[in-house]
Symmetry: C2
Amino acid sequence: MSAPAGTQQGTRPGGRSAQKRAAVHRAVAELLAEQADLTLPVVAARAGVHPTTLYRRWGSVGDLLADVATSRFTGEVVVPDTGSLRADLERWAADVATDVSDPDVLMLMRAAVGAGESGACACRGDREEQLAALLDRERARGGRPPTVARAAEVLLGAIYYRAIFTETPGTPEWARGLVEVLLPS
Amino acid sequence: MSAPAGTQQGTRPGGRSAQKRAAVHRAVAELLAEQADLTLPVVAARAGVHPTTLYRRWGSVGDLLADVATSRFTGEVVVPDTGSLRADLERWAADVATDVSDPDVLMLMRAAVGAGESGACACRGDREEQLAALLDRERARGGRPPTVARAAEVLLGAIYYRAIFTETPGTPEWARGLVEVLLPS
């Protein structure tokens, strides 16, 4: 599958160079696909716990990561209750932005995403439930708030995008401004 | 650091159980932090290429991942030019949503994010530049489009959020609807 390593002849002609690049790209894709090295036995050995304990309690690495991530990702954000949906959302968005700009949280989020679907889902933690609570309260006041899905896509979408996919996580002030996108005044 | 493995006494009392959970959580965090196993020598060995070639051409794993990801993540999306910013953005958003709902692309995105900052940044590929081209064209027509940053946060933010952090990537139809959030009519 890989390019033969012993066939150099002189100073790497174009075709040989392109072959190497293709081989390297293929190797990266293969290695990434295999990167399932965080197994329950590996965690058990590191933690000094019997693997059966982990299997009994968590069942899979995904479940375990979800547990770690949930307990880590939702500790810092409280559900505000100011009496105004806009103010609640502004405060909540600013808190989430502050939380995910912490390098430790960011590292854990990236690792959880890298560990696959259940790890990635764990990054939402209880945040959509917190949003649901804010939006329900507005509905009880007689308002017509957006859906939880729309609020999550716009607010968490933008905050996570900035934190994970760019080099500049958003500031709390910027996060507050996102609420204007969700609820144009 | 880890809980001693030889001190069980009977059927795991509460304190012992909580200790185990803490030890497991700590182990996961440590292992995730150390997960830098995709190195240039590892890739070189898999690809059948001399490591020096990789160091010379890419410099770091981050640069290499960025190269792989960029060539993979931006192949399928063309920059539409319908004469209308709204229609251009709808078509572009639908194409991006289709692209990232491909399980192979999603796997590569997750792995790139897991590999750290430069891998994550590579997931944007040329997409912000494509957005900039659409928005510049609107400006040349005399319109007042949103900034690239705002358009990326809202459109890519929501599309990536659905694809990566939920179990249900967005449909092209849903992605088209996001343009209404960015450009309320």
